[in-house]
């Protein structure tokens, strides 16, 4: 049977299978196998987690700026919920600070950013852009969301376990993670590990599905080099998740064994905790955890950024009304980044006492990986050249993504060099570095994507004025929050310490600490700057301006060739891609954009 027949068949059936019965609430919104509903489920869940993660860090910021003062508004509540040894008098204790820090990282990375980029945007947009009726395995897709959700619930529940939630950082280094609560095997860390196993399983199901979909379900004419860059980014991301997560799953199981059955995978011989020798066999290796963790950890940071670059590319091509400059080199760079990201991981471990040979190896690969990263960024910058840029909320976020990601990437270079990293490691400089990549970087791309695809999902536009206000406030406050952290890092302030590390290192320059007040104020400002967005988002769902066409942005890619919002099964008739993804302002064309589905 030929490809075309199957398609015709598929779309012929779609009509009546839909009319037969109106699905009930549960099968429509909870147990839906439609990739768009699942995308929205992911989106809603991850935005909630994003907000929660932000609240955690606000409490931490308050403690850093005002040591010894009770947390305003929620202090009393925290004391009631978590006990008075955790939050004495509404203060953040050291333990609680550590818990919040660990959970902030975990939630932001595994429950907010990855799900929103991959689960939400990836699910909603990828099948549409390749002209597929759905994902290759719709039920697996649903299972993936449900498993993610369970993982999230387990993580959240761990806050209320006796002894509190995990507090060994989002990296959960052993032995620290295994010895925090020796009396209680089912401590927060155990919940963390179980939650992670769920989240990893969910990512694995998702990534299998994405890769199979992109390989198998591209519509007629959608050759590899006609795929929108966003799809390429998702494709490489899915490979990173597929192959980098299993080692962390293995490591998680080992740490779980250490916690539950007293084994010593990561516990060395002769370990002494609080002055008493630990009653374990020993013989394990703490470094093993770090290797397995960062084998995931580094690819994971590219999982956080590649889909974001994908979103930004779509928005930029559309709003500059120009093809992306160097599309092919961007594609090849993305593949190189994906490949290299598997062999740079130990640049997170220079301070573990590595030999010079291995440090040189990882330093070299780290420098190599920055080349394709810079190629991608440069291609996007050059794409702006000579464009008649439309400045709307989506494009403003996408445009400011570029320098923000640039700062994040460039500040990574001193960290990639062994010699300078030994000084900067675990200081606020590192915090500044990666937040520039994920906060003003990835988060801006997420906002750009929401403003850009909102009309397709809801059939209504978001308000532009509120959007621009949101953009201006976010850009300003993001920089006020994260730029000073570089200075703090240079001046010796430690990350992960609720007093900035002053009790154990006297060399911290007091001026570094004095910046904390201002940063905290700006963090609150950043929160306030999100109000226009929240108002805009909810009100636009109901009262936003209705779109006048299926393609309000005059875009070229296939998702805009569907009805708005796309029905189950997506396309009204079988889509065919006749041309590349970004045919904007083609000389001689009748308008300044030529959709991929337009016959030559």
């Amino acid at each position: 049977m030929q490809a075309t027949d199957t398609h015709a068949h598929a779309h012929g059936q779609k009509g009546h299978s839909h009319d037969h019965h109106e699905p009930g609430f549960f099968s429509k919104y909870i147990f839906s196998t439609d990739h768009k509903v699942i995308g929205v489920q992911y989106g809603v869940a991850s935005l909630i987690f994003l907000f929660f993660g932000f609240l955690l860090v606000l409490a931490m910021r308050f403690q850093l700026a005002n040591p010894g003062k009770p947390i305003p508004v929620v202090g009393a509540l925290l004391e009631k919920l978590l006990g008075s040894d955790m939050a004495p008098g509404g203060n953040l204790s050291g333990d609680l600070y550590n818990s919040f820090g660990a959970m902030h990282g975990t939630i932001m990375v595994f429950l907010a950013i990855v799900p929103i980029l991959f689960g939400a945007f990836g699910n909603y947009v990828t099948p549409l852009q390749i002209g597929a009726p759905d994902m290759a395995f719709p039920r697996l897709n649903m299972a993936s969301f449900h498993v993610y959700f369970i993982g999230g619930v387990v993580m959240f529940a761990s806050f209320f376990t006796p002894g509190g939630t995990a507090r060994s950082g989002w990296t959960s280094y052993s032995p620290l993670a295994s010895v925090t609560d020796l009396a209680n095997r089912f401590d927060g860390q155990t919940y963390w590990l179980i939650g992670m196993v769920f989240l990893i399983t969910s990512s694995l199901l998702g990534s299998v599905n994405f890769i199979a979909t992109i390989i198998q379900l591209r519509c007629r004419g959608m050759s590899w080099m006609r795929m929108p860059f966003f799809v390429w980014a998702q494709f490489v991301t899915a490979f990173l998740l597929l192959l980098a997560f299993p080692p962390l799953e293995a490591a998680g199981l080992m740490q779980l064994m250490d916690n539950l059955f007293g084994s010593s995978f990561f516990l060395p011989q002769g370990l002494v905790v609080n002055g008493t020798a630990l009653a374990v066999s020993g013989g394990g290796s703490p470094l093993l955890w770090q290797h397995l963790f960062w084998f995931l950890g580094h690819p994971e940071v590219y999982v956080l950024i590649l889909p974001a670059i994908g979103i930004v590319s779509e928005v930029i091509a559309n709003n500059t009304r120009k093809p992306l400059w160097g599309y092919k080199s961007m594609v090849y760079s993305t593949m190189s980044v994906g490949f290299l990201s598997f062999i740079v991981w130990a640049h997170h471990m220079y301070l573990t006492g590595m030999g010079t040979k291995i440090a040189t190896f990882f330093q070299t690969t780290t420098m190599m990986i920055s080349i394709p990263s810079v190629i991608i960024l440069t291609a996007l910058f050059i794409s702006l050249w000579g464009g008649s840029i439309r400045f709307n909320a989506a494009s403003l976020f996408a445009l400011s993504f570029l320098p923000m990601f640039g700062i994040g990437g460039l500040t990574g270079l001193p960290l990639g060099f062994n010699a300078s990293d030994i000084y900067l490691h675990d200081s606020y400089y590192v915090i500044g570095h990666f937040h520039y990549v994920v906060a003003p970087g990835t988060m801006f791309a997420v906002f750009a994507g929401i403003y850009y695809w909102f009309p397709k999902i809801t059939g209504r536009m978001m308000n532009e004025t509120l959007g621009k206000l949101h953009w201006a406030g976010s850009l300003f406050f993001m920089n006020c929050v994260f730029a000073p952290m570089f200075i703090q890092g240079f001046k010796g302030m430690s990350r992960r310490m609720y007093d900035g590390g002053t009790t154990y290192f006297e060399g911290v320059d007091p001026t570094a600490l004095s910046l904390n007040k201002m940063i905290t104020m700006c963090a609150v400002g950043l929160g306030v700057a999100q109000l226009p967005f929240i108002i805009n988002f909810f009100s636009s769902i109901f009262v936003g301006k209705k779109v006048s066409s299926d393609n309000p942005w005059d875009a070229t890619t296939l998702e805009w060739a569907t009805p708005t919002p796309p029905p189950h099964g997506n396309f009204a008739s079988e889509p065919v891609a006749y041309r590349g993804p970004y045919e904007y302002s083609v000389p001689g064309a009748k308008s300044d954009f030529t959709p991929q589905s337009e016959k030559p």
Binding site: M1, Q2, A3, T6, H7, H9, A10, H11, Q13, K14, S17, H18, A132, P133, D134, M135, A136, F137, P138, L140, L204, S207, V208, N209, I211, A212, I215, Q216, L217, L242, L243, A244, F245, P246, P247, E249, A250, A251, L253, M254, M257, F261, G262, S263, S264, F265, Q269, V280, S281, G283, G284, S285, L288, L292, F295, H568, G569
Partner: protein, 285 residues
């Protein structure tokens, strides 16, 4: 709405969706078991010398029951060949033969798991005892004339528990001595089968059963074999489903059904493949 290529191959890739899916999944499984094997090697090469009693090696060798392990290997290999024969039977339109081959496969799977749990149990009542004078013995433990109960973690003995319950001595059916390769040493004249030995609690420095807490070898052994066992269990349930309730599809869509068996078989062979490495690594090396 229907998804294209659910069972027909897509012309340019030559594959149907589920086959792409299973190979992707197996690629991730390679990384999962690969990480565990890496952990095994790393822990082994960096184990401190003299860490395991009675052998000069840092790592215990020859502690697992080799005849049983060999038999289990054969069981798994058999199930692997029956599953591929079952698929071939479908290809030849012979449903009856398919079904009995599948039944054999599933029986093999559960036989494997049964034998494995017998082995696990044996390990839980096997103890290593280190004495204060530096000597050490291993063997089956008897406290107050009783062996520790099977499948009962609460019934495990530790030095702390012996002291708390004021047990004065324990008896241990000592394992035959082993040489540096983990082979049983044949000493002329000496009896080498499970001689009972009485040990006073006061002389004991450490006591622990062959469980993950006692040595990283057991931690790795139990983790990898348990994870492998879970794969066997999952695979067996899916294959059993295909053989009975899921076989309805043979009537409605034989091609898709045959594909399902192929995909299930691929997973099953992978599970076999892991065991092919696991068996020599934990039993023999």
């Amino acid at each position: 709405m229907e998804i294209p290529y659910t069972y027909k191959a897509r012309p340019d890739t030559g594959l149907y969706n589920a086959k792409v899916g299973i190979w992707l999944f197996l690629a991730s499984e390679i990384m999962l078991f690969g990480a565990l094997f890496s952990a095994y090697i790393l822990l082994r090469v960096s184990a401190p010398d003299g860490f395991w009693p009675d052998v000069a090696l840092a790592w215990p060798r020859g502690l697992l029951n080799i005849p049983i392990g060999t038999f289990n290997t054969a069981v798994l290999i058999t199930s692997s060949v029956t599953v591929v024969l079952a698929w071939a039977a479908l290809k030849m339109n012979n449903f009856a033969r398919f079904r009995w081959l599948m039944v054999v496969t599933v029986i093999c799977a559960f036989a494997f798991l049964g034998i494995k749990s017998f082995e696990y149990n044996d390990k839980f009542s096997h103890y290593v005892v280190r004495l204060k004078d530096g000597k050490a013995v291993t063997g089956h433990l008897e406290v107050n004339g009783k062996h520790p109960g099977f499948w009962n973690f609460a019934d495990q003995w530790s030095l702390g528990r012996l002291e708390a319950e004021k047990v004065e001595h324990i008896e241990i059916a000592v394992d035959p001595a082993r040489d540096i390769h983990g082979h049983v040493k044949h000493v002329e004249g000496a009896s080498h089968d499970h001689a009972k030995q009485k040990i006073a609690t006061a002389d004991i420095a450490f006591l622990g059963s062959y469980t993950p807490a006692t040595h990283p070898f057991f931690a790795v052994y139990f983790l990898i074999t348990a994870l492998h066992g879970l794969h066997v269990l999952g695979g067996a349930l899916v294959l059993a489903y295909f053989a009975f309730p899921g076989a309805k599809m043979w009537k409605t869509n034989p091609e898709q059904f045959t594909n399902r068996i192929e995909v299930g078989g691929l997973f099953w062979h992978f599970v076999d493949l892991v065991w092919i490495f696991l068996f020599p690594v934990v039993y023999l090396l």
